[in-house]
Symmetry: C2
Subunit: 206 residues, 2 copies
Amino acid sequence: MYQLYDYPTSGNGYKVALLLHQLDLSFRYLETDILAGEAQSPAFLARNPNGKIPVLITPEERVLSESNAILLYLAEGTPFLPTSREARFEVNQWLFWEQYSHEPYIATSRFWLHHPQSGSFQDKIAERRPGGLKALAMMENHLAKNDFMVGDGYSVADIALYAYTHKADEGGFALADYPAVSAWVARVAAQPRHITIEEKTNFTGT
Amino acid sequence: MYQLYDYPTSGNGYKVALLLHQLDLSFRYLETDILAGEAQSPAFLARNPNGKIPVLITPEERVLSESNAILLYLAEGTPFLPTSREARFEVNQWLFWEQYSHEPYIATSRFWLHHPQSGSFQDKIAERRPGGLKALAMMENHLAKNDFMVGDGYSVADIALYAYTHKADEGGFALADYPAVSAWVARVAAQPRHITIEEKTNFTGT
């Protein structure tokens, strides 16, 4: 069985839980309280020296970090990752774009608003706003012409972008302003074996 | 022939130029003055709506952005990308780590110090310093036990990390404090068909 070290509201951890569930791979959810410093403990740092969740332990005891790299690893050879060189490039392009040009704006704003105990970040939220608006506008343009992020089917590119986009309102970004993105959010949520971000913490069995 | 739209001091563009040269793929270097807004022009945004260099146009007229996705695309089927599922995961893990946990600290500090005309960023440079020190410490620990970033050979993981690491001094980070990283920098520079970041702009022929 897989073991997923994660924090409940994390979209990065949600990506991994969602794909595991859609691949019908059973996993155990292990809550890691990043606000209490649990990702900086010696035990955690031995697994991921970068001190970040999610960390996925495979049944073969491999220790994996970096959510989008984990998606590519799990999706290899499945319908969630296209096989042509061109489509794989597009998946990778969106995954790197998500980590550099989307997550630092949309996810980070949500984290600060969601966890006021982590400090007063009003200035930083304002600073990150233009980047978040730009990211959503890029997605809107793309999804106005395409049903999914890459090609004509659901892939890990959708999972990676869905994780924080569907909660953008919680970061102060009004998804209702982006009709194509909103329609895509509904399309992703309608995929077989979809689970919500809240449901990921249900998988605590052994 | 490939066409590479890039800015001379960009490490992200250098990654692509270095791999193209090492793969013996000829390319034309097209300088894009990002400080003069050339990456925000309608013509450029038609190629990359994200308004960032590098952009690579392939001989088949495919338009590629996101430097690390370009590395994976070009390296497919070559000795610069390992073939086992496990090693490919490690390459991807380092590539995503580079974009999220290394580049925003080390490259950004260098950009601000390198281009004082882009504004006064002393506060931001101080804010980014701990992240840069952490990234270099992680590389030092890894390279104290390994000659290369993944497995026992040179790969796109080395190219992606080398691009900004070898110029870390220009961002205020003293590479001399990291002996294993410094030895790896020399090892990468000694690879066949290596070109320096300055040499990438020489490829302006047609």
